[in-house]
Subunit: 377 residues, 4 copies
């Protein structure tokens, strides 16, 4: 059964939903907005049967909607069409097929294509384009120009991919200098599928390129990622629209969330931490070496891992605090000695080990407590 | 290792938390407050090694805190002390041992005991007592009087338990009339562990007794309940305090949440539904038999199951809608005919099958939509 | 990335597998062979992008392999080609594309098609065909003849589907009598996706038609079934080959496994139970009303639910025993009275509630114990 | 309810088991026996309310039975009795209370105690003792002598525990030399709860001491370990009896399974690997650079992680192979060049990264294939 014409009726008008464990339900990704911006969850790199993927475009859209995303781009290969014996090449097909469903669901579908060339310059995604067929060109320069001429943004995919860099090292070639100096690329994938390229993160910070992390998914997400979440590009946008996303990428207002870590600039990661965490306890009243418990709640989907930066001679703060997603926890503060007599405001600095602001740098956050300890008699 | 004196230091000052899947973290039960009341999650019936349970009192408290509860009572048997060869009887011990930890964690610990007599009147819990040892009496009347004299509230446990009613039928005896008429009992367990007693629910509604649902747990919760949640008494209290809970029970401001269902009065269940559910779409603009999708979000931990009560001749609404906990879903509305021409406000009544307001009654909720359908040309 | 030419190298030669939760691994369905037969796990009804499905044929095959199946048929609609604006109709394409991967993985791929007509006769699957394009015919009679002429077996799909039976009732029409009397159909779906048709089960038993249960899946399996398993046709075959399966279906050597239940004939279900369950304890030596524990192990993936049929006056056997998949459990046997004096072999009959041998019938199994009880002094 | 006298009746004679997700069921730990030995799964270090644990002894036993263990020791502290205000000290109580249930379930309960002294020598467990009260002595030498005089075996617990070694370094003191030279200790914990001590592993190998890994659990296992398995001492015994275990420990026939890794001697780990893994494919017939897939099944609960040791110039074998517990997988073998012409038996050495035979050593296993490659024309 399941002819599409009957499908919607069946799905919602019958009672069988109760039997199905994972139907058409969306679960939000709980990463808070930050002051001045909406935090949009996006995946700008995915495939369908219209190049070498295994799924139909509407599936990609419903899957992304269920996964709590705000926007995706389907970016089938221009130059690689392994299904062409069965599916005539039409680089606009995936977008055409998917756009109505995306609109119904409120998911932002961005038209895209993957310009798929030998390294250098390798593979580059063009998104926010309007006619993918115009990207069929003899040379990569022409193809990129065709994308940019349509108002597209171009970014460099998986620069350290072993398919084009057998030793796994990301290399910046003259071709990339050409693209960069002519303002033809806007960003680079710092994370692609399950790979993270630390050197590329540094390039983005130095050269002011947008930091991107995408799934590059060919199969259904959970076929390849199991219970893990796909990489997501967090876009800090003033509007939840296609235009808002485009503008944010141009302004480098992005970060990457993958494998429990967020890669991005301090100016975005600091408010993200602050909006995620709430301290119920800020005042400590102890006697001697007795402990006071600090209660803290993490409303986000991110497990934050905090490590104490430095040591206090008088008061003992935890060396390591793990603030699990969606939970409230308690951690103890106590004086080192029974004769301690203190009454002051502490600003204790922790490094958030999974909020990463550079190839070897973590976000530092000050936790503030009013600590009053009276000596034990 | 794990001598208690080293424990706290180790637990929080070392980094090993990262290796532990389920440490000392609390996950809230997401059932919203309702106008005028806090919705407190309580379990008024549990056991420890101080009668026939298998856990130490502090474990009960930490377990309840992790489980997102606001309050528990430990209610060891007065008359059944199978561990007495190893543990001298002291009916106040569990409360004494647990109260400091409860205070630290912000969990409300209510002192209690289970008066454990043959049926009738069977087993009765006394909670909000101050000296459990005073309940050691020759007769059940004396024991209950001793509890009430301390300001305790008494409720009847598992009235249909096969240990005392081999056929599983709940029976109201003269002894219960005595307790009821002398205002010695305040409520009855409508749910005990995995048993639900529909007749008892009716008794509570008729006689204005508090509706209670408790775990009666002897082992760790997940040893007996696996991944399921224990039964919880929802208490609609003006304050999150022991006094607030007591007053709410006296005022019959309770409901029971178990196995995905809530048993209670309409005046509490209706606002609970309304505070849990948010409709993002209220206006429908269709052409002919085209569908419009309604987007709705369920912020609670309750899966709501809605069944259409009645049929509309013109517009087709879904027969069954399952609003899964913590998700957003879409469901369709459409006209039955292509020549439909309608522009009016609909108030469509659904029965919420898992919100139960009587032995055979469900909460009815009107869903309201502005429906505009223009004929298809 | 993930151009197919690089894919295999990457997948296996790099270390990234350790990061992926659900890669290319097969988990067997643990349903034992029975004396004389291999128990093959099959799904004879599935779709791809070549009709109204959302996945590529190779995905169906890898998915089935991972799911522990032995054989599948891809059965795209002949008469329903909603993707034809993008994919030129070629009813043999899915089989052509999939057959090499199936061979590599050792999965049996059976060529098939769904003859998709109005009711009556409704939709019928033809499997074991060799040229699906030959089934493009004006009438259903011609289409079925074309299938049978190729050596195909034809079965009737989802006879109670609300898309063709709005009241959900399965109806046998003259057209089905025609098919049956002319030996043109070999079986009927007793289970299709999440629907079970009890009346159809009876038809199969009366008319000696093969009992079939299939997924009719259009999306990835877990998109629609979540964590549940798809319906599976169990085929009791002498060989694990395409021919072995065909012969078994012709001989009605099938059963259906879905939603924890197995539907089939006693001659298959009885040995299935016996091969799944091992009793470690068969001798009971009790004193008075003391209990003896029976240890029993269930090596299958089936949870068996046993209910006592009848009562013994002397010895008390459990009313209900749930033998969970993959576990060992203990259940008690004891005398009803302390003065019991018994020494005999008991054959206690249980109904296995989830092994279903007719619309209202369950498999009965005798459990045998040597019971010796001496009176308590 | 749940008075023990009613409990067994209720549990098994009523139908409520079907509602409980995790009742009294045992799931075996699938680690195979090896030639000449049964592989017993044991935990020789656990606590109850009779020292500083939070559970009753029968709970420990039922929990261990459910967890698939063969044997446990309850080893409450002799010198640390924080519950003594409520529970009079009786060091034999836990064993007395638990032994009957253990016998019924077929779990081997070994009597034990933890001699709890300052470092050096720190904490030592005495197991296979018969009277724990006799271990109450002024000095640790006397206490250990009392244990050994009863036929007990003594082992050293958590030598690197920060409670006694604030820097986490395991130190061997003169006191340990005394114990070792006088043959008073038989083994050391290489793993205690979530800590692994690599230096101690080396000590055990050098000094021929038994390698032990225990949970040291005070709470219910899953309260502290979540979904992870506790550390287990694997005992390679000729019999599944208390005596068999004792003899095996004396003979150093042990290994430790924790966190997916096994620590032990090659003579045990090599057959463990061989009994766990089955290669369905051993013959490779390729043309040119075409791949052949090797099918391999892992019947154990251990995920094996294999890394290629060395490189072959002609044939490309996977660098990394992860053999997931309970699955079948495929991995590819292929020639490096299209003109390859080879016909020989390969014995390819892999290091099993999670089978650890020394502080820095892994088990090496040769995988054997008959490889025939003919040049591609």
């Amino acid at each position: 059964m399941n002819l599409r014409k009957y499908f919607i009726g069946l799905l919602f008008f019958a009672s069988f939903l109760s039997l199905i464990a994972q139907p058409n339900y969306r679960v939000e990704v709980k990463i808070p907005d930050i002051p001045g911006y909406k935090t949009l969850k996006c995946d700008f790199h995915s495939h369908t049967v219209f190049s070498d993927g295994t799924v139909w475009p509407t599936f990609r859209i419903e899957e992304a909607w269920r996964d709590g995303l705000d926007a995706i781009a389907i970016t089938d290969h221009i130059e690689y069409q392994p299904h062409k014996d069965y599916i005539p090449t039409n680089h606009n097909a995936a977008y055409e097929i998917g756009k109505n469903l995306a609109k119904e669901l409120g998911l932002i579908l961005i038209q895209g294509s993957e310009i798929t060339r030998d390294m250098p310059p390798g593979h580059l995604n063009a998104i926010f384009i309007t006619d993918a067929n115009a990207l069929v060109k003899d040379t990569w320069k022409e193809a990129i120009k065709a994308a940019v001429d349509q108002g597209g943004l171009v970014f460099w995919n998986h620069p350290g991919w072993r398919g084009q860099q057998p030793d796994g090292v990301s290399r910046w070639y003259d071709e990339h200098t050409y693209l960069y100096e002519n303002k033809l690329i806007t960003g680079i994938e710092v994370v692609n599928s399950i790979e993270y390229y630390p050197a590329v993160f540094e390039w983005c910070l130095e050269k002011n390129l947008a930091i991107l992390g995408n799934s590059d998914i060919h199969n259904p997400i959970n076929f390849d990622y199991g219970k893990n979440r796909r990489p997501i590009t967090l876009v800090f946008a003033t509007d939840r629209t296609s235009e808002g996303i485009k503008e944010a990428i141009i302004n480098r207002g992005t970060a990457v969330f993958y494998d429990g870590k967020i890669y991005g600039e301090e100016k975005y990661l600091k408010p993200l931490f602050n909006e995620s965490i709430h301290f119920a306890t800020t005042d400590v009243n102890n006697v001697g070496r007795g402990t006071a418990n600090i209660k803290v709640t993490n409303n986000s989907d991110i497990d934050f891992e905090l490590r104490l930066a430095g040591t206090d001679e008088v008061i003992r703060f935890p060396e390591f605090i793990k603030l699990l997603a969606g939970t409230t926890m308690m951690f103890p503060i106590r004086a080192r000695k029974d004769n301690t007599d203190v009454n002051k405001k502490y600003s204790v600095v922790y490094a958030v080990e999974n909020l990463i602001t550079g190839a070897d740098k973590n976000l530092k956050v000050p936790l503030e407590f009013n600590v009053k300890v009276t000596p034990k008699k």
